[in-house]
Amino acid sequence: MPGPVQSIERAAAILRLLAGSSGRLGVGEIAQSLGLARGTAHGILRTLERVGFVEQDKASGKYQLGAALLHLGTSYLDVNELRSRAINWADALAARSGEAVRIGTLLDGRVLVVHHVFRPDDTLQALDVGSLLPLHATALGKALLAHDANAAACVRGVALEAFTRRTVTDARQLARALAQVRERGWAAEIEELSIGEAAIAAPIRGHGGLVVGAIGVSGAVERICDAQRVPAAKLVGFVRDAARAVSRDLGGSRW
């Protein structure tokens, strides 16, 4: 069992100090109060600022608790912000793959579609932003389930609905599928939600690697999969590239 991480203890102390203060505090005051070297305190403050837990006042250079701390219990990333940041990458994914693109986030045990780009063939398609999809029977849902402990908790002990005869309804089978998603870094669904349809998705990560959503393509099985009914490697590559590009824009660059 590894010992406590010193810098996290110090960060927690800084947050407690700021929370107890009536106004803003300067680096010097913080370092002095906690018996830290000024440089050490400054480094920790900069990191906390990066994740939104503290804010620096531009005029005085002093610190206070950040807005992100106040919203810690609610959504990490505004879904409209996510769409706005991802829109160019989602368009590029649709153009390269020739398939419809969706971005999903977790909402009350289901996948909320926050962005939808039409399949670029100019057929009549309806915008389905705002619709809710099942977690266990979609590629987007599996990408979220595999990387998000909260999402995984949503399906634990719940009877999984069968949409087709291929829908994974057995908890152990689903767990194995999710382990594979984590290992490969992408998820797929072949005729598990509706007959003749398949999908590929990959997780979108924000600061610190936290999964904030998933992006993927969906379409007819014969276009999404190769002759062996395996998701086409080229499409998987496109989806993963798009997910990485959005993640990079959101500050989750190491993934």
């Binding site: 807005a67 879904v79 769409r83 368009d91 649709a94 780009v117 670029p120 915008l127």
Partner: protein, 504 residues
């Protein structure tokens, strides 16, 4: 070597971008560089033309490198540019005469006031299709001639050249002092106040009215034709197109038939409707402008309506009121309520543009009651963009006798689903977003590719256009009417607010 790409240069107000597109109209590489904004006095806005040229020298090779391409693989380059910004330079040294005077610059207001009272002022709108205003190039040329000693004489001798940004870049690309080609395209020329909209040539009477020597003006050419072959930055690449940025967006959205309309939603918004091969005069405060001219074909005209404040209202809500921390959060906040709660915001921050043209109007928030929350205000912010679009579209329908059947939208605000749905609802037509949102750059690339046969015809370009999203109207007609009535009453309440400054 196979020509794989078309290059576009978007010389915009804040930055210059260089993008490479492939044959399917897909974006392959992007390089961008911002330039400095100079504000030497209140109301003065300037750019350094040399800085902009140097930026192009950096970003074009950068874009080529990203794609792993050589100039030999580029079929042609097209230029889209910020319109009306005025550059004067010395033909012999290539050095600019001071900085470029930007389209936002209002230093010519007293001059314009004086000119509008001068005999013959009536011909300005009649011939150019535009109102006599500080917005356009001619007063800026005149101002510079009046303020730089000896400049007029040099201009008359042909030693000083005028151009908008595309002229400056083409002249430099094609050799500069060493044989540079001095040209402009019809869309840019149509924004100077000096071109006859029907003949598409410089008008002697307008030149006399503004006191501008003909010798300094570029030759007016089509929007798509090979003006020259580049001798600098990317030697050997044909320069195949130039268009004002909003016209380039119209082209990039493939609005090639009369009635087809695009709206670019940014800080402000620009609606352009293709009106076919005859210029349509506006009785409703819109501008008549050239949309594009392909080679030897007849010019295609457009009606233009500009809205001063759209995205800027969201920025104001974020930065000045601090009710949201990022612009997209406006949608989240607006969705916390069902409707506007009876509240309307008219963002007449510096008066109202089309179709009202009330410079003395100022912004208001009306319908406040104790019931109103910040969610209602957020709704009212988004709805203001919708209703302003509706007003311009109504004016366009009246002027053109055409009726809008769908709106092709682009720009950053198209990421806002609530807004796009609202625009569809209040216009009562579908709103579509194209898959390539960089419509300005795409339009310049399309035009250049067309000039050199990289793309065969307009039909080929249309096939490249793909719909990324479509919003269908779903508002109850009675509600649409009563809400529009409320909006119009709110607009009336903004009029006659600002009083003329006594000091002037």
């Amino acid at each position: 070597m196979v020509e794989r790409y078309v290059m576009s240069i978007d010389q915009g107000t804040t930055s210059t971008r260089c993008i490479l597109f492939d044959h399917s109209g897909r974006l392959v590489a992007v390089a961008q560089r911002e330039h400095r904004q100079h504000f030497p006095r209140p109301g003065w806005v300037e750019h350094d033309p040399v800085e902009i040229w140097r930026n192009l020298e950096r970003i074009a090779p950068e874009a080529l490198a990203q794609a792993g391409a050589t100039p030999a693989q580029v079929a042609a380059v097209g230029i889209a540019n910020q319109r009306e910004t005025t550059v004067l330079w010395d033909r012999l040294t290539g050095a600019p005469v001071g900085r470029a005077l930007v389209w936002q610059d209002t230093r010519t207001d007293a001059l314009v006031e004086e000119l509008s009272r001068a005999p013959g002022a009536g011909i300005v709108t009649e011939r150019s299709g535009l109102p006599l205003a500080t917005y356009f190039s001619a007063p800026r040329i005149r101002w510079t001639l009046d303020h730089v000693p000896g400049l007029r004489e040099r201009a008359e001798r042909g030693e000083v050249l005028f151009g908008t940004m595309e002229s400056w870049l083409i002249w430099n690309l094609s050799g500069g002092v060493d044989g540079g080609v001095h040209v402009t395209d019809v869309t840019n020329a149509s924004r100077t106040l000096l071109m006859d909209l029907k003949t598409l040539s410089w008008d002697e009477d307008l030149l006399a009215f503004f006191g501008i020597p003909r010798a300094m003006l570029p030759e007016i050419r089509s929007s798509t034709e090979t003006y020259a072959t580049a001798r600098r930055i990317f030697p050997g690449v044909r320069i195949g197109a130039a268009l004002g940025d909003q016209q380039a967006a119209l082209f990039g959205q493939t609005c090639f038939s009369p009635g087809e309309t695009k709206c670019t939603y940014g800080t402000g918004a620009f609606l352009l409707m293709n009106t076919g091969t005859t210029p349509v005069r506006s009785a409703n405060g819109l501008l008549t402008t050239v949309g594009y001219k392909i080679g030897d074909e007849p010019a295609v005209y457009a009606l233009e309506g500009s809205i001063a404040v759209t995205g800027a209202l969201v920025q104001w809500f974020r930065d000045r009121l601090g009710l949201i921390s990022t612009a997209p959060e406006i949608e989240t906040l607006a969705r916390t309520v069902e409707d506007n709660g009876g509240c309307y915001i008219v963002p007449a921050f510096s008066g109202l543009f089309a179709p009202h043209w009330r410079s003395e109007a100022r912004g208001i928030i009306v319908g406040l009651t104790s019931y109103i929350t910040k969610g209602h205000l957020a709704r009212a912010v988004l709805e203001a963009t919708g209703w302003q679009t509706r007003e311009v579209v109504d004016a366009m329908n009246r002027d053109s006798g055409l009726s809008l059947r769908e709106l092709k939208a682009d720009g950053g605000m198209t990421a806002d689903n609530l807004l796009m749905q609202f625009v569809a609802d209040v216009l009562n037509v579908p709103v579509e977003r194209p898959m390539v949102v960089e419509t300005v750059s795409l339009g310049a690339a399309y035009a250049a590719g067309l000039a050199v046969g990289y793309w065969p015809d307009l039909q080929g370009l249309r096939r490249n256009w793909h719909r990324a999203a479509r919003w269908v109207p779903s508002m109850d007609p009675r509600r649409r009417e009563s809400e529009y009535d409320n909006w119009r009453r709110a607009v009336e309440r903004t009029f006659d607010w600002a009083k003329p400054n006594k000091r002037d």
